[in-house]
């Protein structure tokens, strides 16, 4: 048996947690070693996932690095594996985690040790979600992530943190009970929960509709899709910066992954049946969220609504059932992960210095913080989807894909691009340009320090790299996407 690389990726952060917990001594010593351990663990994990990528065989559409062992007798197995669809989400997770950890070390003032533990536990659950090849195992990871996220929002959040944390938790928990019922129903009808096996069998048509709906409610809440999105702005606004980053980059991507893997893979007939329904919800989501984003006074809320709009492209792309659409959706997930991370980190930088997220408190930052201004404008432009950044590729592919299927959808979806330019650029104009003023005083602010520059630069580099040479992602995912598209189109 070869080295269980996926289990290592999943559970190695927990080993770090144990080491952090075992460290005894004065508070400074413990905090310092907690930071060192967390950085070390997350970097090791990142390099191991890069190694995983290098060993990944892009020509094979099926699952690779599969590990299987007995777990719950007669019911669920412990089965892990990745294919083209999930591998980049795993890498995104391991890539964002060290960034969050650096950001947390840089900006958090209280209880850093506990925060690092929460992030590491979170990483375990999130890598596990993308690797799990057993529905029950998937559910366990999917739901388990709620605990650390709840604590992250609740302990380190802003003023209304308790309300937001509870809303986040209960909303997602409510959704996931339908997922649980659907999973149990799958088990009793198919007698297996092994995703690889389920993908190759046909679930009876009359069941598919109900099961699809069960999965849909849970995934739509987590995505979040209009009209289930109301928890997201609250959670984002109140979460501490690294928490928002995790939420936006990783948590929101679980649903996109779930739609491709489960809704399309397991219930193709129902997916065809509901495709127009998804289109309508997504278009409403894109336009509505963009309009709402225009009117926000809080920067984090604005970015949160822009996330809702961008996730709309992901669902449209997935349910176009074309290769371009699917490619675009996956690409958009990765790219949105990176871009929204940099936007949230930028807002976090401001919040650390001024303790305000309100747009009206800032103006003309370029005069005092030129480096920050550069990064912020660049991230905003990437968010708009400027050609040359990764945002462009994702949206463009989605629009191409849907045009083949339904050009009316494309027209409406494309209007979101204009709106996103409107709110992003307006945000830049108000915050970065104009006469310098912060909180009605003209006192200079400290520009980005080395860590902040480094983090934002890495994210920017990835954004532009993917924008110029998207094949880094599109090529490895190609054969897996082909398989999904072939399965779903032949069923019709």
């Amino acid at each position: 048996m070869s080295f269980p690389i996926l289990s290592f990726l999943t559970f190695f952060p927990l080993v770090g947690v144990i080491f952090i917990l075992l460290r005894k001594g004065s508070i400074e010593v413990v905090e310092r070693s907690a930071k060192n351990i967390a950085v070390l663990v997350s970097l090791v994990n990142f390099f191991v996932s890069c190694y995983l990528w290098s060993k990944f065989n892009p020509a094979s559409p099926g699952f690779q690095f599969v590990e299987e062992s007995k777990w719950i007798a007669n019911f669920a197995t412990y089965k892990m594996g990745v294919d083209g669809i999930s591998i980049f989400l795993v890498i995104l997770t391991t890539f964002i985690s060290p960034i969050c950890i650096f950001a947390a070390i840089n900006s958090l003032k209280k209880r850093t040790k506990e925060f690092l533990i929460a992030i590491l536990v979170m990483q375990t659950f999130m890598v596990g979600v993308f690797c799990a090849l057993d529905l029950f195992l998937f559910f366990l990871f999917f739901e388990g992530g709620l605990i650390p996220m709840f604590l992250i929002i609740g302990i380190w959040g802003g003023e209304r943190r308790v309300y937001s944390a509870l809303k986040f938790f209960l909303y997602t928990f409510l959704g996931s009970i339908f997922l649980l019922i659907a999973i149990i129903a799958v088990y009793w009808n198919m007698n297996t929960l092994d995703i690889a096996k389920l993908l190759n069998t046909k679930i009876p048509e009359n069941l598919q509709t109900w099961l699809w709906l069960g999965f849909f409610i849970s995934l739509a809440i987590k995505l979040p899709m209009w009209p289930f999105h109301t928890w997201l702005p609250d959670a984002h606004v109140e979460a501490p910066t690294p928490g928002s980053v995790i939420l936006a980059t990783i948590l929101l991507k679980i649903s996109g992954y779930g739609f491709i893997r489960f809704s399309l893979g397991l219930f193709p007939i129902a997916s065809h049946y509901f495709a127009n329904f998804i289109f309508v919800l997504s278009i409403i989501g894109i336009i509505y969220a963009s309009l709402v984003a225009l009117m926000q006074t809080d920067m984090k809320k604005l970015i949160a609504y822009s996330s809702v709009a961008h996730m709309g492209y992901v669902t449209i792309g997935i349910f176009s059932f074309t290769k371009q659409g699917m490619d675009g959706a996956i690409f958009q997930m990765i790219s949105h992960g990176v871009i929204s991370a940099s936007l949230f980190l930028c807002v976090g930088v401001l919040y650390d210095r001024v303790h305000s997220r309100l747009i009206k408190d800032y103006s003309g930052l370029v005069n005092s913080m030129p480096r920050f201004a550069f990064m912020f404008v660049a991230a905003s432009l990437a968010n708009v989807g400027l050609p040359g950044t990764s945002g462009f590729i994702g949206e463009f592919l989605v629009l191409i894909g849907t045009f083949k299927v339904n050009y009316i959808v494309t027209i409406f979806a494309a209007s979101g691009v204009i709106l996103s330019a409107a709110y992003s650029l307006w945000l830049c104009k108000r915050v970065v340009f104009g006469q310098f003023k912060v909180n009605n005083s003209e006192e200079k602010l400290k520009d980005l320090d080395f860590t902040e520059i480094a983090i934002l630069f890495i994210l920017m580099f990835v954004t532009i790299l993917l924008g110029i040479y998207p094949n880094i992602i599109l090529e490895p995912i190609s054969s897996s996407v082909d398989l999904v598209v072939k399965n779903i189109t032949t069923i019709k």
Partner: protein, 469 residues
């Protein structure tokens, strides 16, 4: 006779402790250390004779894997109750020498209930248990609330016992027998009066496990009794009554499934729902736990109502996990004392994580587990129940159950919110004693790491439940 050793040891033990207590009061301390050891030995004894199956005294008392399983659970609850109460009783000055003896006698009553194969024996066991519990509720004679709890429990408890006895007499009148297997044989062609008997007996048992609408006593009694007694109330009597219920429904009334199924489902839905909703407004932790256990009983009843071997396995697994969750949680509550004063309000947990990070972490894990969040054991407990419900395609029960789990999650989250998000108060006593440390540690570790190997427990209970009918 060898298989009766646990019952005999408990009986003779409690009597001899009574004599020792009267004549040599300074031996109390030694008895308090001796009893946990004795209980541990009994657990091992039953464990090694686990698969023995026989019936005694003219088929009125049966010992089988199911009863052994339940007895071990009861013994574990009693053992933990002893471990966590030593310190507490000293601090609150209620360590009368009767306390351990009454606890042991209650345990004996539970054993009789669990093993009963005959309505009379069942009733005797139930009454022995209940009388001891009434005394335990009122054992803190200095507290008005404790006396009130005792009286309330006694009055309502006697009423329910009366109902139960009336039901038994109806069953006897219509079948001419009190023996479970005899009743089952005669009952095939019967209806009418037997169903009345069933309803009355179910009312009696529902009272003992505090299922809605027979739950009114629970919050008051739980709140008024000393915390160590409340701990005992939340676990042991429920285990015993549920064991008796499973046996009663599946042996004498095995052919009446369609009749009692509806009753149990109604009880179950009402308990899940009311337990979840009514707990939201509570400020006292013990009251909150009362409603929380009402919800849990609802889930357990849902499993009993399905009555397939799989669902009964789920019930047994649920009981095991439930026992450890509640014991751990109460141990955490009992660690909150400051110079001999014990605190039991939710607001007293405020900012606990600052001064007591370990206890807070354990309390958080146990609370999340009670709420049923994976990958903790509490999730698996609920999950197995829903697995068996959906197998029978009773979707409405599954949806209602899960919705009430979401409502219940709200008040569990509130506890965590208070522990972690609220400003810190003064620190509590750091030295909480080995008994509490042991109880908190063991239960938390079991709940946390259950997911590593769920199969072993599954295997044990599957072997038990396939022979119930």
């Amino acid at each position: 006779m060898k298989n009766l050793i646990p019952e005999l040891v408990i009986l003779l033990g409690s009597f001899s402790f009574l004599i020792i207590g009267v004549f040599a009061k300074n031996l109390n301390k030694i008895i308090n250390y001796f009893i946990p050891v004795l209980l541990g030995i009994l657990i091992l004894f039953i464990y090694f004779n686990f698969s023995s199956s026989l019936s005694l005294f003219g088929n009125s008392y049966s010992i089988d894997p199911l009863s052994n399983f339940m007895k071990i659970l009861v013994l574990i609850s009693v053992l933990f109750t002893f471990l966590i109460s030593n310190f507490y009783l000293e601090r609150t000055n209620i360590n009368q020498f009767e306390y351990p003896i009454i606890l042991l006698l209650a345990t004996l009553g539970m054993f009789v209930m669990i093993s009963a194969n005959n309505l009379i024996i069942f009733y005797l066991g139930l009454e022995l248990q209940s009388l001891c519990l009434y005394i335990l509720a009122a054992i803190n004679t200095k507290s008005l609330k404790s006396s009130e709890a005792g009286i309330k429990y006694f009055v309502l408890g006697s009423l329910s016992s009366g109902l139960l006895l009336y039901g038994c007499s109806l069953v006897y009148g219509f079948t001419g027998s009190v023996d479970y297997t005899e009743i089952a044989k005669v009952a095939i062609g019967q209806s009418g009066g037997l169903k009345f008997g069933l309803v009355f007996i179910l009312c009696g048992i529902a009272f003992k496990i505090a299922a809605v609408p027979f739950h009114m006593w629970a919050p008051d009694v739980y709140e008024g009794s000393p915390t160590s007694v409340t701990t005992f109330f939340t676990v042991a009597p429920k285990v015993a009554a549920i064991a008796a219920l499973i046996k009663f429904l599946n042996v004498p009334y095995g052919n009446f499934i369609s009749e009692w199924k509806t009753i149990i489902i109604v009880l179950s839905i009402a308990s899940m729902f009311l337990g979840a909703v009514a707990a939201i407004g509570q400020t006292n932790l013990k009251r909150l736990m009362a409603y929380s256990s009402i919800t849990h009983v609802g889930f357990i009843l849902a499993g009993i109502a399905i009555a397939t071997p799989q669902s009964l396995s789920a019930v047994l697994i649920y009981l095991v996990i439930y026992v450890f969750m509640k014991l751990g949680l109460f141990a955490c509550i009992m660690s909150l004392n400051r110079n001999g004063v014990y605190f039991e309000n939710i607001s007293d947990l405020s900012g606990l994580s600052k001064h007591h990070p370990v206890i807070s972490l354990c309390l958080t894990i146990l609370t999340f587990s009670l709420a049923g969040i994976p990958p903790l054991a509490g999730f698996f407990a609920k999950f197995y129940i829903f697995l068996s419900i959906i197998e029978q395609k009773i979707y409405y029960l599954a949806v209602i159950g899960l919705l009430s789990a979401v409502v219940a999650a709200f008040y569990y989250l509130r506890i965590i919110k208070v522990i972690y998000f609220d400003p810190a108060k003064e620190s509590y006593n750091k030295d909480i004693g080995y008994g509490l440390k042991f109880s908190i540690g063991v239960s938390t570790l079991l709940i946390l790491f259950y997911f590593l190997d769920p199969s072993t427990l599954n295997f044990i209970v599957d072997n038990i439940t396939k022979n119930i009918k």
